[in-house]
């Protein structure tokens, strides 16, 4: 094993049995969750109304919005990272906010990445709700808002899947958070903008395979847990 070229933090003598530093790992998990959950929550707030509008209303530029969403689904994350980096850099339009290498900048790029798939899958789910169900809600005396609420309820599995897919894309994404966040830890080895993914690639590159494996297991467990929660929620919704 070669000697790491850029140690992330001073090397401590190993005094505990754990093959990794607990505080370090915990802070990384926190940053990952904070960034991804916030970004996905914001994406959902935007995606749901946009998908509803696209599913129910006809307006000028609908095709354009559709193409933007479809393009966005395949947008390379490093390019998104680069664009956000330009936007928040000192000369960029958001330069005054001094967001470069912050969690907020990471949230911005995750938001850009997660919104298209969440919108697209939500749209597919709500357009999949049978016309008969909409008619029924309307016929039973529902207003337009009532009909929209019924459609959201009927499409709940699809919407949950959409949010999950967005979260999956956000939390396991490396390229853009590395560019705009910078994979930074503070001097005492606590993550500032280091996420599970960027930490894994760094640790692996440095030959710290134990730590990388632990972080990988945490990432996997997180994704599986969120998945299980969403599936469970869907089942419960169906049983009520």
């Amino acid at each position: 094993m070669s000697v790491p070229l850029e140690p992330a933090a001073p090397l401590f003598p190993v005094v505990v049995d754990l093959p990794f530093r607990e505080g370090y790992v915990r802070s990384i998990i926190f940053v990952s969750l904070y960034v991804s959950v916030t970004a996905v929550a914001l994406s959902t707030l935007v995606s749901l109304p946009v998908a509803m509008l696209m599913g129910f209303a006809d307006f000028r530029g609908k095709q354009l919005v559709k193409s933007i969403i479809n393009t966005g689904m395949g947008f390379p994350s490093v390019v998104v990272g680069l664009l956000v980096l330009f936007a928040v850099s000192n000369q960029g339009p958001l330069g005054a906010l001094e967001l470069i290498f912050t969690r907020e900048a990471m949230i911005m790029s995750q938001f850009v990445l997660a919104t298209p798939p969440i919108t697209a899958i939500t749209l597919a789910a709500i357009t999949g709700v049978s016309e008969n169900v909409r008619d029924a809600a309307h016929a039973l005396g529902g207003t337009r808002l009532d009909v929209a609420l019924v459609v959201i309820k009927e499409a709940r599995y699809g919407i949950a899947t959409a949010i999950l897919a967005g979260f999956g894309r956000a939390i396991s994404e490396v390229g853009s958070v590395l560019i705009v966040g910078g994979n930074i830890t503070s001097a005492d080895g606590v993550s500032k903008t280091r996420t599970l993914t960027t930490a894994i690639q760094l640790e692996a590159r440095q030959g710290q395979y134990d730590t990388a494996m632990v972080l990988g297991a945490v990432l996997l467990a997180l994704v599986l847990t969120v998945n299980a929660i969403v599936v469970r929620l869907g089942d419960e919704g169906a049983m009520r």
């Binding site: 008969n132 029924a136 039973l140 005396g141 529902g142 309820k153 009520r240």
Partner: protein
């Protein structure tokens, strides 16, 4: 009284209903019969204040429906119930389905409160819901998932759902076309009982025998508007229009 006067409706270039005049009074069953694809569903949707006809007027108790504001029209629309050919139940329990019409008529504050109570699981079933389910003989299915019902049961729940909020008019679009004889009989019995309660019922059907069994008046539609409207007895036994005679005799099949 719901009344259509000289109503014409076209989808694009295709005229589906032409110069149709028809009314439904409280406490009577009007069957709208005719072969498949002549626009019976369109007529019902116009009667339900669902669809604005291309020409002609629709009135409910003398008020011209389509000249009203959307808010006022909603109030009129809420006096009418409709059951579709396919039971289009929501993906929820029978109870939630049947109470839907009641919920949308509540204020947002009441609805929020009811939602919260139902999440806590201590929500009482509204009396109107149990009554409506009794009406179609399904009160034992209250807590069952709607999608686990058989086709006949689902259609009866649809009927109960439209009845729960006590409408003055009920419009049924081929409600029994996919049902077995037993469920058909149950729906027909429910239609008669609804009429006896003073509800005006409009039922579209391609089954002349059904029309004969339950209708007070019949409107025969054969393609270009109504060919003949009259009491069921008169239309079936003594049709004035030659095409009606053929249809009633079973010779006119599309």
């Amino acid at each position: 009284m719901v009344r259509l006067s000289n109503v014409t409706h076209a989808f694009g270039d295709e005229t589906v209903v032409e110069d149709l005049s028809l009314s439904i009074d409280p406490g009577e069953v009007v069957a709208i019969i005719g072969p498949s694809g002549v626009g019976k569903t369109t007529v019902l949707r116009i009667l339900a204040l669902f669809l604005e006809p291309t020409a002609g007027t629709v009135t409910l108790d003398g008020r011209n429906v389509w000249s009203l504001s959307e808010e006022n029209r909603l109030q009129l629309r809420r006096r009418i119930g409709m059951v579709f050919q396919e039971a289009s139940l929501f993906d929820a329990t029978v109870e939630r389905n049947v109470e839907y019409g009641l919920r949308v008529r509540e204020s947002w504050r009441e609805r929020l409160r009811d939602e919260l109570w139902s999440v806590l699981g201590s929500n009482g079933t509204p009396e109107a819901v149990t009554e409506a389910l009794d009406f179609v003989g399904l009160s034992d299915k209250l807590h069952q998932e709607a999608r686990s019902l058989s086709g006949g049961e689902a259609q009866r729940v649809s009927f109960a759902r439209a009845l729960a909020y006590d409408p003055e008019y009920l419009l049924l679009d081929e409600p029994t076309s996919d049902l077995d004889p037993r469920n058909t009989a149950l729906i027909e019995a429910a239609v008669r009982e609804a009429r006896d309660r003073g509800i005006g019922v409009g039922i579209a059907t391609h089954d002349m025998h059904q029309a004969e069994r339950i209708a007070d008046r019949v409107a025969v539609i054969l393609g270009e508007g109504v060919a003949e409207v009259g009491s069921a007895e008169r239309v079936f036994e003594n049709p004035r229009d030659a095409r009606t005679a053929k249809f009633v005799a079973g010779e006119l099949v599309y």
